[in-house]
Symmetry: C2
Subunit: 356 residues, 2 copies
C-alpha cells in the first residue's frame, strides 16, 4: 500500500527536554516526522520518515487560502512494563477519513495510517516519557498543497505526522474546571463541518475562547447554533452530565465531534451497568437539574485530559457550581480506568491498546 | 508605520505567459511578493518585497492545524490611457481587518496595506495585462505561523501579498450561469465566521460545489443554515434579484460576506433611481416571483466576474429559467459601468479607482 516507508535518519538529533519537568503541550517535537504526498491521478505516494523540520509551500498553496486541512490527535503511552502502546489509533484513522471526506480531500488506507504512526513512534521511542500522566502526543494532519488560486478542491495534498512529548494535563491530578456556556457565537451547524476535525472549526472558536478566559473559564460550552438551546460540546471535549443517577451526553447530531474518549467511556459505563443516554439536552434541562439538586456530576472527555470534571458552568452571568466543585466518583472511576488501561495497570479487555 | 518597505529585486525574472491567450485564474504569479511578520510584543515588522517563491513553516505552524487564515481579493487594471489603477483597495484593507478581528488575528494599518499593494503592483507593473477584461488579481492574506500545538490564538503571523495576471472571466463576454440552490449543506450561520473572508469558509463549501458541478451548475446558492429558507449568497458572489422593477439583495445578516462589488452596485443603482432594497429574501419569494412572471433578472456580484447573470436556478430538482436565459438590461448596464470605471472608459466620479 503506497509503497515501503523510506526512512531518512536524523543525524543531528535534538537534546530532549527534561521529561520530569513540565513539558506543557505541543511545545517540543521529536526528531522525525512522517510525510506522504497525494497527487491526482497518482494517488498517495512516497511515504517517508525524515528529520523533523520546516515544510515549504508555494504561497498560493491552497491550504493558506481555502482551508482544506484536517487533523487527528492521539497518544502513545509508556506502560508500567515499559512497553509503548497507542490508544485506539484505528479510530483516529477512521475519523481522519471522515473529516477528509467532508472537506473533499482524498481517503487513505486506515491500516496504513496506523502502521505509519507505529513506525514513527518506534523510531522516536526515546521520546515517549516515562512519568505517569505524561505521554507522546501524535498529530497526523493532511493539508492541501496545490499551488494556484480559485475555490476548488486541491489536486495535491501532504499527509504529515508530527509528535510531541506532553506532560500530564493535570499535574496535580484531576482538577475541576470552570466552563462558560456560550450563546452569542456559534461553532458549527447542521450541514456544516462541525463533525469533522478541520482547522477552520478551531479558528472559529478563538473569539469565544477569549471571552471564556475573561470570565476565568477554561473552555466554552457550545449551544446549538439554531435554537441556542441544546448543548453541543466544549472547545475540545465532549460533555457528560450525571443527573439523578443517569448519565446523559449530547447525541451525535452532525455538528459535534464523534470523540474517541466519549465512545470509550460510553462503552465502559454501559458495561458497568450505569444508565447512559445519548440525546438532545437543553441548557434548561441542566439548569432545572441544578436547581432541584439532581445534577450530580458534569465532565468533559477528550484525548488531552481523558476526563475533566466540570466544577462550574457559567450561564447567563450566574455560575452553577456542580458537586460543590468537587471531583465526582464517576469521573474519578472513568479516569482511573482509562488511564489504567493506557498505562497498563488495568488489563485491556477491549483491545483498545495497540503496541508499537 | 512598520518601517520602510525593503525591496529585494528578483534577478531571475520568469518568462511571462502570453497575455493574449487564456490566462485562466490564479495559475501564473508575478516576479515579486510582499511579506511582513507579526510577533506578539513586537507588532508588525520587517515589511519587504522579495522574489516570488516558496514560504517555509514549521509543520506545527498553527495555520495548518487551527485555521487562522484570512484573505482578500482585488484587481489592478490597465486603463485605456495605460495607467494602472486599483478598484477600492481601501475597502479590501478594511474587510481584511474585520476578518482578522473575527479570527482573533492582529489588525493592520489600512493605509499601509493599500500602500504595500501599490508598491508591489508598481514593481511588477509589466504583469498587468493590456487586454480589456484581463487584469492583475491581487491576493493579500494573513496566516498564523507560531510553531506549537494547542488551540489558542497564534502569537505570530505572516502577511503576504501575491499577484496573478488573470484573463477575462467571460472570454466571450457576459454569459448566464446556472446555479444550484443548496438546502442540505450549510456554509455559515449567525454567530459563526460567514461574514469573514477566512479559509475555512471555503473548504466548507467544496462538497456542495461538487454537487453543483454534477448538476451542471457553476455555483451553489446558499440558504440560511437555520430555517433553510432565506437566501444568503453564492459560492463567491453576492446575489441580486430584480422583481417587478425592484431590485432586492439579502441584507448583511452576519453570515454573508459584505461584498465590495455588492456595495458598489447598490450605490450605482441608487444613483440611477432604481429602487433597491437589502432585506431577507426567502426562496419562496423567488419561486413566487418566478411563477407569476415578475422575476425579471437575477445576478451575482464579485471581484472575479464583476456581475454574472443567473440564467437558471435549480431548486428542488426543477430549474427556474430566468429572463429566458438571456442577459438582462440591468446586469449589462452594471457590467458596462463598473468595467468602464475600472478600465477608464467611464469617468470615475466616485473616487473608486486609485492609481498605482
Ligand atoms: C471539538 C472537539 N470535540 C471533542 C474532542 C474529543 O475527542 P477525542 O476524545 O477523540 O479526543 C476534541 C478533541 O480531540 C475536539 O477537538
Ligand atoms: C463568499 C463570497 N461572497 C461574496 C464575494 C464577493 O465579494 P467582492 O465583491 O468583494 O469580491 C466573494 C468574493 O470575493 C466571496 O468569496
Amino acid at each position: 500500500m503506497y509503497g515501503q516507508i523510506r526512512i531518512e535518519h536524523n543525524l543531528s538529533c535534538k537534546a530532549k527536554p527534561r521529561f520530569e519537568e513540565d513539558l506543557g503541550f505541543g511545545r517540543h517535537f521529536t526528531d522525525h516526522m512522517f510525510m506522504m504526498d497525494f497527487e491526482e491521478g497518482k494517488g498517495w505516494h512516497d511515504p517517508r520518515i525524515i528529520p523533523y523540520g520546516p515544510i515549504s509551500h508555494d504561497p498560493s498553496a491552497m491550504v493558506f487560502h481555502y482551508g482544506q486541512a484536517v487533523f487527528e490527535g492521539l497518544k502513545a503511552f509508556r506502560t508500567e512494563k515499559d512497553e509503548i502502546v497507542l490508544f485506539r489509533p484505528d479510530q483516529n484513522a477512521q475519523r481522519l477519513n471522515r473529516s477528509s471526506d467532508r472537506l473533499q480531500m482524498p481517503q487513505m488506507d486506515e491500516e496504513f495510517v496506523v502502521d505509519a504512526i507505529r513506525t514513527l513512534v518506534r523510531l522516536d521511542a526515546d521520546w515517549v516519557p516515562r512519568k505517569k500522566g505524561s505521554s507522546l502526543y501524535i498529530r497526523p494532519f493532511v493539508i492541501a498543497t496545490e499551488a494556484g488560486l480559485g475555490v476548488r478542491a486541491s489536486s495535491r495534498y501532504s499527509f504529515v505526522i508530527i509528535m510531541s512529548p506532553v506532560g500530564a494535563y493535570y499535574e496535580e491530578g484531576l482538577q475541576p474546571i470552570n466552563i462558560l456556556v456560550e450563546s452569542h457565537y456559534a461553532r458549527a451547524v447542521q450541514g456544516g463541518t462541525g463533525s469533522a476535525k478541520t482547522a477552520g472549526n478551531y479558528a472559529a472558536t478563538l473569539k469565544a475562547q477569549a471571552l471564556a478566559k475573561e470570565h476565568n473559564c477554561a473552555q466554552v460550552l457550545w449551544l446549538d447554533a439554531i435554537e441556542k438551546t441544546y448543548i453541543e460540546e466544549a472547545g475540545s471535549m465532549n460533555v457528560f452530565f450525571k443527573i439523578n443517577g443517569e448519565v446523559v451526553t449530547p447525541n451525535l447530531s452532525g455538528s459535534i465531534l464523534d470523540g474517541i474518549t466519549r465512545k470509550s467511556i460510553i462503552h465502559l459505563m454501559k458495561e458497568w451497568g450505569i444508565p447512559v443516554t445519548e440525546r438532545k439536552i437543553s441548557i434548561d434541562d441542566i439548569v432545572q437539574a441544578y436547581e432541584n439538586g439532581t445534577l450530580e456530576e458534569a465532565f468533559g472527555t477528550g484525548t488531552a485530559a481523558v476526563v475533566s470534571p466540570i466544577g462550574s458552568l457559567l450561564w447567563n452571568g450566574t455560575p452553577m457550581v456542580i458537586n460543590q466543585g468537587n471531583i465526582g466518583d464517576l469521573v474519578r472511576r472513568l479516569y482511573d480506568t482509562i488511564t489504567g488501561i493506557q498505562y497498563g495497570g488495568i488489563e485491556d479487555s477491549y483491545g483498545w491498546t495497540i503496541s508499537c
